[in-house]
């Protein structure tokens, strides 16, 4: 069989199953439930089937071994232990590695005998310890397990329901010392038959019943239109039958394979639903019987990127058309054609806005995609460092542009590692401090105005500003004088300074001084802001603000000299018009006092064009325009020649042929075709600090 065209599909599905397994195993360790066990078993089962079908034997082998463990768990033969979970995770990691190898080269040479053996050990080791029972595991496992139905049996059950019959699950218990169990079983079957019931399926199957291959009980699936209690009473009269439990049959609860919902099939589909069903018949690969059609399609990311780029062009042209319309209006006053041009332009504007909004939404992914891997990571890290850590996650369904999602992952990993490694104290230390042994890390995401706020908060030892000042001086990051002048918040922000790492010893995971400065620059690269707040002894909180999308932003347009510049609105705190009288000077730096706080001023004219306008950034008596921008706790005022207004702009990157341009994150094309450079606010702050130091 030529499997090449199925490989992509297989890889995608395998990835999904592996994700499910990872989350569920984790949950299994925390709070095992039958529901989780069923889901986990199903995922392993599916993965086993598909990898075998594709000829990836080793993968099939390994999943098979995992499946056996889940099966034993499901049946209560063994119970969850940390060691077991570790081995399962090892197996899962190997599965991932295999999958990745297949993705790269179409095959995998990773072997897994060791792992399979270790999983088998889990199984055997614990079955030996299982409560003593005369029955062998093979016999025992059928009791109370419900029924795994064959396809034709399931159809028979649905058909019975459709025909107005009731379907029940009978669990028949025999006395422990029954001699001829198969005879009793046969009598039960005949009694049901004689009293208006039909046995649709049994567990074990009839052959096993005949051969006495079962323990003290067996399960029957019975369809009947008679009152179930009378049937039960008939059975109870058979000698050596100790008990008969009857419950209405529920497919979900007893089956092990993914099932279509019986409810959906039993009820009359609405006309719309019927149409969907017929139109999906050809499209639906595998001919699933599910009547409800998934309302989603998979779209190549590149196609979405292209769409967004095209919309970006449209946004530019929309602005251009609107501007032309206004120019025509001033030139020809109220001409009929001008009016209709303006009207059309306005309409195109609205449509474009909507189109843009929807395409942006189509590119959104829940941040879950990133968060999902963290519970496992925290568990492993905590184990490694001998910490006890609880990870609480909130707002996983918060949606972010996929480009932002891609970039935010690494910084978050780094910060979480830091929290486990440096933030949370060892359990004994926590106890001595009167804190709960188990530390808590809270990871949350939520929308706030036009950005996403992600917070990482731990209840660990926190950071001491005084200590950070000391370290900064010792490492030569700051002079003693400069360090002493920092406010506590500024001192905390020192952890983001290059070459600053407070780790007392370098650990494998928390890195070697390439820490928070990289984190911050990564976040800033996508227009985000990271901030830290900490109380010694109480804990630390990192806040990350991210733009909703990277491609189109709102910006304040300003004029400096002959050019127009765009300042991302996310960084703009306010705009001011000030008189030269209110100018002060701190050192050689011009400043104003704004609400009791000194606000340093930077003349963009001077900053960009090197014009020496002296200390005073203004000309003569003219009032000057100041844009107050903020980066974390720091604020400065940018003196510009003129404020133009707010506008949505499409970010275009600057060619690398320009050389290493500092201070601009990109450029945009304005309505009149002119180019406006987009200020990189973080760079401006960095330049200022560099100059001050």
């Amino acid at each position: 069989m030529d499997t090449s065209e199925y490989i992509a599909l297989f890889l995608e599905e395998a990835g999904e199953q592996i994700d499910i397994l990872e989350q569920d195993i984790l949950q299994l360790e925390q709070s095992p439930s039958q529901e989780i066990l069923n889901e986990i078993f199903r995922a392993a089962h599916t993965l086993k089937g598909s990898s075998r079908a594709m000829g990836f034997t080793a993968m099939g082998e390994l999943t098979h071994a995992m499946e056996d463990v889940f099966d034993a768990l499901r049946k209560g033969e063994i119970s969850v232990s940390t060691e077991m979970v570790n081995r399962l995770f090892d197996a899962l990691d190997t599965l991932k590695a295999m999958r990745d190898q297949i993705a790269e080269g179409g095959s995998s040479d990773i072997t897994c005998e060791e792992l399979v053996k270790s999983l088998r050990d889990v199984l055997n080791g614990s079955t030996a310890d299982a409560p003593s029972s005369s029955a062998s595991p093979a016999e025992q496992k059928h009791a109370d397990a419900g029924i795994s139905l064959q396809e034709h049996e399931r159809e028979a059950a649905y058909a019975a329901i459709d025909n107005g019959l009731n379907v029940y699950q009978f669990t028949v218990r025999l006395a422990a010392d029954t001699l001829m169990k198969s005879v009793r079983a046969l009598m039960v079957l005949q009694a049901i038959d004689a009293n208006g019931g039909t046995v649709l399926a049994s567990n074990p199957d009839e052959e096993a019943l005949d051969n006495e291959q079962f323990g003290d009980s067996f399960v029957l699936l019975v369809a009947t239109d008679k009152p179930v209690d009378s049937l039960r009473n008939v059975l109870l009269q058979i000698s050596e039958i100790r008990g008969v439990e009857v419950q209405p049959w529920q497919e979900e609860k007893v089956s092990s394979a993914p099932q279509p919902s019986p409810a959906a099939e039993a009820t009359n589909p609405s006309p719309e639903a019927k149409m969907e069903e017929s139109s999906s018949a050809e499209a639906d690969r595998g001919g699933s019987r599910t009547p409800t059609v998934s309302q989603t399609v998979r779209v190549d990311v590149q196609r979405l990127d292209t769409l967004l780029n095209l919309v970006g062009e449209l946004v530019i042209d929309r602005t251009r058309v609107a501007q032309l319309g206004r120019e025509f209006e001033t030139r020809f006053q109220h001409d009929e054609m001008v009016d209709s041009l303006l009207e059309t332009a306005a309409h195109i504007g609205r449509i474009t806005d909507e189109l843009q909004e929807h395409i942006m939404k189509a590119r959104m992914l829940p941040i879950e995609q990133v968060f999902n891997r963290f519970p496992r990571m925290i568990r492993d890290l905590a184990q490694k460092f001998g910490k006890e850590v609880r990870l609480v996650m909130e707002g996983q369904d918060t949606e972010l542009d996929r480009s932002v999602i891609e970039i935010i992952s690494d910084p978050l990993i780094h910060m979480l590692r830091n929290s486990v490694d440096h933030g949370i104290e060892p359990p004994e230390e926590r106890e001595a401090l009167g804190k709960p042994r188990q530390g808590t890390i809270r990871l949350s995401a939520r929308h706030e105005e036009n950005y996403i706020l992600i917070e990482i908060e731990d209840d660990g030892r926190g950071m001491d500003p005084a200590h950070l000042r000391e370290v900064a001086v010792r490492k030569g990051v700051l002079t003693r004088d400069a360090a002493d002048r920092l406010t506590d918040r500024e001192a905390l922000a020192l952890i983001f300074a290059p070459g600053f790492s407070t780790a007392k010893q370098v650990t494998e995971v928390s890195g070697r001084g390439v820490g928070m400065d990289i984190v911050r620059s990564n976040i800033q690269r996508v227009g985000g802001i990271v901030d830290v707040d900490s109380t010694p002894g109480k804990g630390t909180r990192f806040s990350i603000r991210l733009p909703l999308t990277l491609a189109i932003i709102r910006a304040l347009l300003v004029r400096v000299s002959a050019e127009v510049y765009a300042i991302p609105l996310g960084s703009v705190l306010e705009t001011l018009k000030i008189h030269p009288d209110s100018l002060q000077s701190v050192g050689r730096q011009p400043a104003i006092v704004l609400r009791g706080r000194t606000l340093p001023l930077i003349s963009l004219r001077k900053h960009f064009y090197g014009e020496s306008s002296g200390v005073s950034p203004c000309q003569g008596d003219q009032p000057m325009f100041v844009v107050v921008i903020g980066l974390g706790e720091r604020q400065i005022g940018l003196v510009v020649d003129h404020l133009i207004g707010e506008q949505e702009i499409v970010i275009k990157s600057l060619s690398r042929h320009l050389g290493d341009i500092n201070g601009f994150s990109g450029a945009t094309i304005l309505g009149d075709g002119r180019i406006a450079l987009i200020l990189e606010v973080a760079d401006i702050f960095n330049n200022i600090s560099a100059r001050a130091a």
């Binding site: 050019e563 960009f608 600057l654 060619s655 042929h657 320009l658 450029a667 180019i675 450079l677």
Partner: protein
């Protein structure tokens, strides 16, 4: 330069242009288009020979003052001034020249390796010397000219 460096009677097609009194040439395979001068948006803090960026049908393309790059005296912009847009890798860059003269075919065997030229910084960027009707044409190594800028 291009693949046409095989010995024999192969020709090299180049676009010749003027910088001051001298004639330079660029292999035609690099050239995307030649446009008239237009508004150039100044990019603060860029290298001195970068004049800024232009809007080329929605794309933002940097523009280099080639004279400044080669260490030649700059000339006033004239109606003959042009921007030669070259494509290197998948990015474009514009080069300002004083005038574009013609497309030339240089027989490979008439191209000499660059000799020691005195003093001029431009010597580093010359890949060969060609002669057309007793006129000297300096073949420019575009990748070197542009490449060094992005480092």
């Amino acid at each position: 330069m291009s693949a046409a460096t095989i010995a024999g009677t192969t020709e090299r097609q180049v676009v010749a242009f003027r910088l001051g009194e001298e004639t330079y040439a660029i292999d035609i395979s690099y050239i995307h288009e030649i446009i008239r001068m237009r508004t150039i948006t100044f990019v603060p803090r860029a290298p001195h020979y970068m004049r800024g960026v232009i809007n080329l049908r929605g794309r933002i393309v940097p523009v280099m003052d080639l004279s400044a790059r080669l260490g030649l005296p700059s000339h006033e912009e004239t109606p003959q001034s042009r921007i030669i847009v070259v494509e290197i890798g998948d990015e474009s860059i514009g080069l300002i020249v004083d005038a574009v003269s013609e497309v030339l075919r240089l027989p490979e065997d008439q191209i000499e390796p660059p000799t020691q030229m005195t003093g001029s910084e431009s010597a580093n960027y010359i890949s060969g010397l060609g002669k057309v009707n007793d006129r000297l044409v300096l073949l420019l190594d575009v990748e070197k000219v542009v490449g060094n800028a992005s480092q």
